[in-house]
Symmetry: D2
Subunit: 390 residues, 4 copies
């Protein structure tokens, strides 16, 4: 159980690009990072509007002279300081991720980037090579995978409690875009424009969370082919999609289906995962993250609760609140940020053995997410046809 | 609200083929039929084992001399009686439906048959012509569609409360066949053998329930093309499937997805339906049939309860227990049987006006179910490819 | 599992007093009785309005000349028939139960009566003596206790799976009387008038269901003292109550709390029971009667589903629909009526051994319900004080 | 919505007494305090074992020389520093609260104390006078009342959406003490010993949470009399209780019932609140804190979700994650700590107008909790009799 004791040598000097007052996700980054003594926020380029960004930055405790106008200024000025920033989080629209990440890495800074990471696998691989050369970490904020019961699921699969995996059923849907985008805010506008969002809307925005979580739980099976059927129910969003179904065939014979939508009117259930094996099934939703359904055919259905001694140690190790007390999305983000910090710390110390065994959403995870999106788009563009996964 | 008062001229003289002591479904037929004074069980060929069938028949109140050895004897002997049977229910394995139905119709008897109706659309259409010629009714026991809240859903769609239908999401899964079939009983054996089950296992056995219910709720939209991906996780079941996903494109642009499985280990949720429109969504499960979720984007989610005055009259009209008191599957079957009885009664009286407006699962519904199965199989056989629905 | 085969010698000739077109509960009696070949409805005095009663009776299949104007006529005329009625169900307002029951017993007829049985324990004991003398059965329609999982609970307690019982928590609440009674219908009016309802409103109307079910599940512990705090939130209902809380101390040291209310605005949960033992707890609600929660401290919580092979035989023996298929209140009533029929059949056959072991809600159960009400009223009248249970 | 911007002049210099490595609650204090730039942890006496406390303190970022052996040393040493601590949180067993709080106040330090505050109302009133004299704040960590939907409930009641309050039903139960205490840890031992826990176990440990939350939601009604029935199912805990039921009569005629237990075997539901009015009811549980049930008699039941625009501004103002994203107990604590910080800040600035309107759990709330406990014990000691609330 995590009690806030620092698990790395010293706090990391941390900065943010984006995530200012008008952003949706900045607070999640900060509330995730600023626990456990692992990060100290020292600088930021929080806003396209430099003045507003400075005002905001000082309100969250950053010195005014380290609130910069843009990421370029941040990199340049911080490079000149002895106590300069070491790791930068990127919480900006998708189309800027690649450029900012590269610039940070070139400047010797670790990066923590929003998903979907970049527009293409080629970009991901280029950046992975750059990070490798520079000896730097690139973390990706798949923020839901820090929940303790996600790791309970992974441990149960690993122990064979489900038997052979047969069916993967995943869903992340909501209805916040059920209406048209007339009068929509910036956060909707950039997400539905291919120039700023990349080749997908909901597949990238929410579908990559599903895909990554399935990789965490089922690392041992791989997609062989998939089919993606996507559609924009609000026509102005085309060619991007506000609804998509993806079918997947895995290399062990398992079958997958995945649904993403932002036009599922009224739906507040968020994500739902069901992993079915030959012996048993497990089911989890981030909307009630503290409980996990475990169903063995022919036995009473079971509900497992976070923090209970009967759970696997992988789950208990990342529990923060303890049984009976609810964990929220902020706690999950805190774990993600912690695991990335431990990677950066190990990298700094040259501890490659630690890194080999250490789980965190890194450049590889980010790349796989983009690869999955590329395959989805390729299938959709071919008339929602089956494509070999590559 | 239904209180058991007979709504037809006089009770129908009713017989059964199959549905004896070892069958799974016979009791549902009887508990459905024997309310409301609409059917009086007068004869049966309940069992392949004539002696056991006679013993059983007398235990459910049938005279011993009207417990027959098989359907041929039943038809022949009853034809000779002044008070002979008028309508016969067929609760036997799929492969016998066609022959028995034809024989009954030829003998001037109305038929109530289990689903899936027959093996091919051609058979269905032939039988439909025969029934038409003979002036007889063929009812199909889609037993879940008698639930009052199913008709609440249909009424809400009809009134436009959902707006344009965008997404149809349906699931009927369980795990009772998660293990292999070594030592399985007769009910499993005939269902997994193409000779006795026809061209499908779970698609026909449970998927047709989903499809018919969606037709009841959404009569105004039609499938244009579909894709079916099916698999037998227990190889001995091949070429039949124990798992299938079907994607559907509707003529109004809506997208559908449907999942059937009997290897969803531990799953006791049975059926789940979600119909998403541009304004709102509704969601219902037969496992808690007394409540209906109604979700308008941007408003609190609502739960509607059966029997409440705020429901549409179509729903209240078929309520049997009243609010707070649970309705079960038997009540749904009772409604199905009642609606079929009213059709038979109208047919007898020559009341074609009544029949035009009267809802019940008839030969057309049975045919559409088989047509849907044919399209699914055609898609699956083509490598899970999209096929035009025809 | 029950499949409708008759388990008694021959169907009983059955009549009803009350339960006509305007009654709330008549259909539940009929749908409960007319399965399994146990009862044949031959006569009735269905309505205070004799003409309406006759019209109704013929619509549910009773011969016109056996639809009587009142219970006295019914008793008198049927006594003159060779095929006269044998057992009469009483579905009339509370204040008539005693007189009608006595008259039927005097005439040699078995009785099935609504709850609360009579107004006083003295009346119950008098009638019990009369029934004993006459060799007749008096059944009481505690209609919720036929659900299969109620008997699962009883079996689990009996096997010691809960350990020592510590806490009994019961609730039956709804909000249908949250508003005042201006313009209320007959069914409300007689229930809130002490002359017609007796000494209680919700305690008798719904609380007796809770109390009887707890006796079925926990036959081995008895109340030693109780405290009842009751109130009429709608003042015109006083001295009767629309809300009450009862605290109970049991002879084994267990503590009980019970809540009944008809002013719990918006509440559709109906009944909820939780029985807590030193080892485990069980929880059940009639609003989702097909599932039972079973919780062992320190283990994952379990949900048991009706009809599954892992259940105790006492539960499976009274299952009608089978796993996955919902049982409703009608199925529960069918079991109650069946068990009473088996008692009557045994009484007729003089099979006292059968009767000793046979569970059904009889005169003793009805008496205990009235006794509990008397104790509640005595406590309430004493200023909601603790009273010894006697 | 809260996004982490500091809402007070400057961060408060904060220290802790207790809450070290072996404590259950220390992390909740720290994760609650260390957001929003409101508190900076500068010192602590974290542990009875000074060495372990220092090791722990440095791991959570406190300078080694400000990790003290006990609260006396902390107060003495910090008093000598220009940058000395301003506010101290007390996360130690109940029996120490009074002494430490007084010592802090005497030293001019604000206090944030665990509940139940002290053993007696007299102590509370003495400390309230002291705090008043010194111009200092005493906050009490009723940690569940920071959830946004708690304030939605309060706002709905205030607007009259429930009508007149009729019924208050509250429950906080779990089963973690269902077994005996042989081999129990320190956290159980001190809680079941009157010397260290005070006059109650579960009433104080968890019941005070229920009572305070009800005061937040229903500030306008007051208890007139109550009855408390308590029991130790594990005899070694007597005279303290592991189970209690409290009945309450309010001055507006409302009726309340409250249940606390730590022997409710297997129960993971934690807290449940239902407030019933003449028009509608609301229901909330901290185990799924992001949803609120709202039920108007005769209308579909509604589920409200945190962060949605249809909520009252009082609720949205303290939302941290936004709709669809789960809030956890840590977020609730963060709000509590924020509100206390705002009080301290206002006190420092002499802004009494702000303090008059500002909601936070202060000395008055702590006193009322202890007063309620005193009344409960008085009733229980009188044989579970009704007592006037005073």
């Amino acid at each position: 159980m995590i009690n806030g004791e620092r698990s790395i040598e010293r706090p990391l000097r941390w900065g943010m690009v984006g995530g200012g007052r008008t952003g949706q996700v900045g607070y999640k980054h900060r509330t995730g990072a600023q626990r456990d003594g692992t990060y100290r926020l020292v600088c930021g380029a929080f806003d396209l509007d430099a003045e507003r960004g400075r005002d905001f930055g000082t309100k969250i405790g950053v010195a005014a002279d380290r609130c910069y106008g843009d990421f370029k200024e941040l990199i340049a000025k911080e490079a000149g300081r002895e106590d300069g920033v070491e790791v930068v989080s990127i919480a900006t629209p998708n189309f800027t991720h690649y450029e900012i990440t590269k610039a940070c890495l070139e400047a010797g800074l670790h990066v923590i980037c929003e998903k979907p990471l970049f527009f293409t696998v080629a970009e991901c691989e280029e950046v992975a090579r750059l990070a490798e050369e520079k000896g730097l970490i690139v973390g990706v904020t798949y923020g839901f995978t820090g929940h303790p019961l996600v790791h309970q699921m992974a441990a149960m699969v690993k122990k064979g409690m489900l038997g052979d995996i047969r069916i993967v059923d995943m869903q992340y849907t909501h209805g916040f875009n059920a209406g048209d985008d007339v009068g929509a805010g910036e956060a909707v506008k950039w997400r539905t424009n291919p120039k700023t969002a990349g080749p997908t809307f909901v597949l990238g925005d929410i579908g990559t969370h599903l895909y990554y979580l399935s990789e965490v739980v089922l690392p041992h099976i791989k997609i062989e082919k998939l089919l993606c059927d996507r559609k924009a129910f609000i026509p102005t969003r085309a060619p991007l999609e506000d609804h998509a179904t993806v079918l997947m065939h895995y290399d062990n014979g398992a079958r997958g289906r995945l649904w993403v939508s932002s036009v599922n009117a009224g739906n507040m259930g968020s994500q739902r995962y069901r992993f079915v094996g030959s012996k048993a099934s497990i089911e989890w939703s981030d909307s009630h993250p503290d409980q996990l359904i475990y169903e063995v055919q022919g036995e009473p259905n079971r509900t497992l609760h976070h923090g209970m001694p009967y759970l696997e140690e992988e789950s208990l190790a990342c529990d923060r609140m303890g049984a009976l007390h609810t964990e929220g999305l902020g706690d999950s983000w805190a774990n993600i940020y912690l695991w990335i910090a431990q990677s950066i710390d190990a990298k700094r110390r040259g501890d490659e053995a630690f890194l080999r065994d250490h789980h965190y959403p890194g450049i590889q995870a980010g790349t796989e997410g983009v690869r999955w999106l590329e395959n989805c788009v390729r299938s959709a563009d071919a008339g929602s046809a089956w494509v070999e996964f590559n």
